[in-house]
């Protein structure tokens, strides 16, 4: 609950004389005022930086190359200097946004020198140099916005590599893993974890489609992210990773529903041995770890990671996985009386149902049978759950 709502609520308790003035103050102190996030300033900085980048990309002929280079150098040096001064002397937020501009100008400087001499590189090397410079600045000032900028450059570079060279650039992948580990070690904070997760998912997709011969390796990469989230003890860091990998694999499952149906030629079994071996290894590790942590119920997430592409009805099997995931969380949510988990299950269920409905590979009669059976099952389950809940309430005398 946020401070404002809490304050309002506590005020009514105070007026009703449920709590004393002293207790009111104590309650408020438990909800520290959140620092305002410098959203506008950051956007301002990004806009100025993008101005420089697009100015260079326009290759405006009226200005000589040397003049342009001098403009870039002077602007970069001034923004860095001003940024450092302001950061240490007056305002972290303003200083940081000046530094963001400076880092973006350095990037446009890299592209300018390439453009001046018509150099086309063989790889995303310019982005590596750019992101290393940004990372050095991040190490100096240690804040989430600069880290976000580093990972944005890394991720953009990887996408650029995919589009321009149809290749995954391993050094940017390495910077994500090493730089991300370093940052998460320094700051056990969810914003950092979220940034790392997004870049990891994007780079996994790039790797899968430009380097690996088969789409299903994406399952292993996302499972690996899930495994990392299980191993990390810190929930603030683990949670974004878990949600990120589950969201990405759910998307993959939805795509599988449609893509694995018509015209998909399943790979030969012997080509997939390595994949299944790796998959099984990680899966077993995750399950054992969850069991040791007494959180085996989380295993419901793992339904989504089951590879179904070898089955004859792979698309429908993938849809079943989505339903198993949804039903799993619904059941757990009701059983633990955890409304968040019920909501998650409900949402997944609605989405899965919608996909089942629009899935064109079935005839209407098949669909009709499917929905009838599903509906009857759900009535049955809800009856059992409701009876159980009532018996718990009566017997346990909890509320």
């Amino acid at each position: 609950m946020n401070r404002e709502r809490m304050a309002k609520e506590a005020r009514t308790w105070l007026e009703a004389e449920i709590i004393t003035q002293e207790q009111y103050q104590q309650i408020l102190q438990r909800y520290p005022e959140q620092k305002t996030k410098p959203v506008l300033l950051t956007f301002a900085a990004i806009f100025i930086g993008l101005g420089f980048l697009t100015f260079i990309a326009s290759n405006w002929d009226l200005l000589d190359n040397v003049v342009r280079l001098i403009i870039i150098l002077v602007a970069m040096a001034s923004f860095y200097t001003a940024g450092e001064r302001v950061y240490t002397k007056s305002s972290n937020i303003v200083g940081n946004s000046l530094l963001v501009v400076a880092v973006l100008i350095f990037g446009s400087g890299i592209f300018l020198t390439g453009q001046m001499y018509h150099v086309s590189s063989f790889s995303a090397l310019p982005f590596l140099i750019w992101s290393l410079a940004a990372f050095a600045v991040y190490v100096m000032f240690q804040n989430v916005i600069m880290f976000g900028l580093v990972m944005t450059i890394v991720t953009a570079g990887q996408l650029y590599s995919a589009m321009t060279y149809q290749a995954f650039y391993p050094w940017l992948g390495a910077l994500l893993v090493l730089g991300g580990s370093y940052a998460l070690y320094r700051h056990r904070h969810q914003a950092f974890a979220l940034i790392v997760t997004v870049s990891y998912v994007v780079q996994s997709v790039v790797w899968t489609f430009s380097e690996s011969s088969a789409y299903y390796w994406l399952i292993v990469l996302l499972l690996l992210l899930y495994a990392v989230s299980v191993w990390l003890e810190n929930e603030r860091v683990a949670r974004p990773m878990r949600s990120g990998s589950v969201t990405a694999i759910a998307f993959t499952a939805v795509i599988q529903v449609f893509a694995l149906e018509d015209g998909f030629s399943a790979p030969a079994l012997e080509d997939t041995y390595v994949f299944f071996l790796v998959w099984l290894g990680i899966m077993a590790g995750v399950l054992v770890k969850l069991w040791k942590q007494n959180r085996l119920f989380r295993g419901v997430d793992l339904f989504l990671f089951v590879p179904v592409f070898l089955l004859p009805w792979a698309g429908a099997a993938s849809l079943m996985l989505l339903f198993l995931y949804a039903l799993g969380w619904l059941l757990i949510g009701y059983q633990q009386e955890n409304s968040q988990r019920v909501t998650k299950g409900t949402l997944a269920f609605v989405v899965s149902t919608f996909i089942a409905y629009i899935h064109f590979a079935w005839d209407f009669l098949d669909k009709s049978v499917f929905f009838f059976v599903g509906g009857v099952l759900l009535f049955g389950i809800s009856y059992v759950l409701e009876r159980k809940r009532r018996s718990v309430q009566r017997g346990g005398d909890e509320r």
């Binding site: 326009s58 002929d61 860095y80 240490t88 350095f106 018509h118 150099v119 063989f122 410079a133 100096m140």
Partner: protein, 168 residues
């Protein structure tokens, strides 16, 4: 101390940009100039802007050019060029460095693709883009005629496009 380190990082970035610019501009002064034939098309890059793609005759090599072991795709290769009439043509190529013959130059490139059955190899020299002001690339494309590219090659191996002209 920390402040010093910061300004060191900034200085590195400035020196990097100046260094890249200076080394390429030095190619024109101290390098040898060669002329090559190409045909243009005109795409975009989100960071570098509009450019004209140049496809060189010297990019396509045949089996007879290679000396030593067959290089792998994606590896660095060295190609020797020598002047024939107006233009420079491929003489030999190898996966290892070698001394050029009298009057010849060595271009460093990457083996992009090889077709062993047909005995053809495509080498990427990293000179396929000629950046132009936005909105001007189409002029090159419309001309249809081959382009002549002047390339400068420095003694230390760095190379760059000096000029692009249409053939008279």
């Amino acid at each position: 101390m920390k402040r010093l380190a910061f300004y060191f990082i900034v200085l590195l970035q400035i020196l990097f940009l100046i260094g890249v610019a200076l080394s390429y501009s030095a190619v024109e002064r101290w390098g040898e100039t060669i002329r090559l034939k190409t045909a243009p098309v005109d795409p975009h890059d989100p960071f570098y802007g509009e450019y004209v793609t140049l496809n060189y005759d010297i990019e396509q090599l045949s089996e007879s050019h290679w000396e030593g072991a067959d290089p792998e795709q994606g590896s660095t290769v060295y190609v020797e060029l020598q002047q024939e009439d107006e233009f420079w043509q491929v003489k030999r190529a190898s996966g290892n460095t070698f001394e050029p013959r009298e009057g010849a130059v060595i271009l460093k490139g990457m083996l992009r693709h090889s077709d062993r059955n047909r005995g053809t190899y495509w080498v990427d020299y990293g000179m396929n883009r000629f950046y132009v002001e936005e909105g001007t690339g189409e002029q090159f494309e419309e001309r249809q005629s081959p382009l002549i590219v002047e390339v400068g090659i420095a003694p230390w191996g760095q190379k760059r496009i000096l000029s692009v002209e249409t053939q008279e």
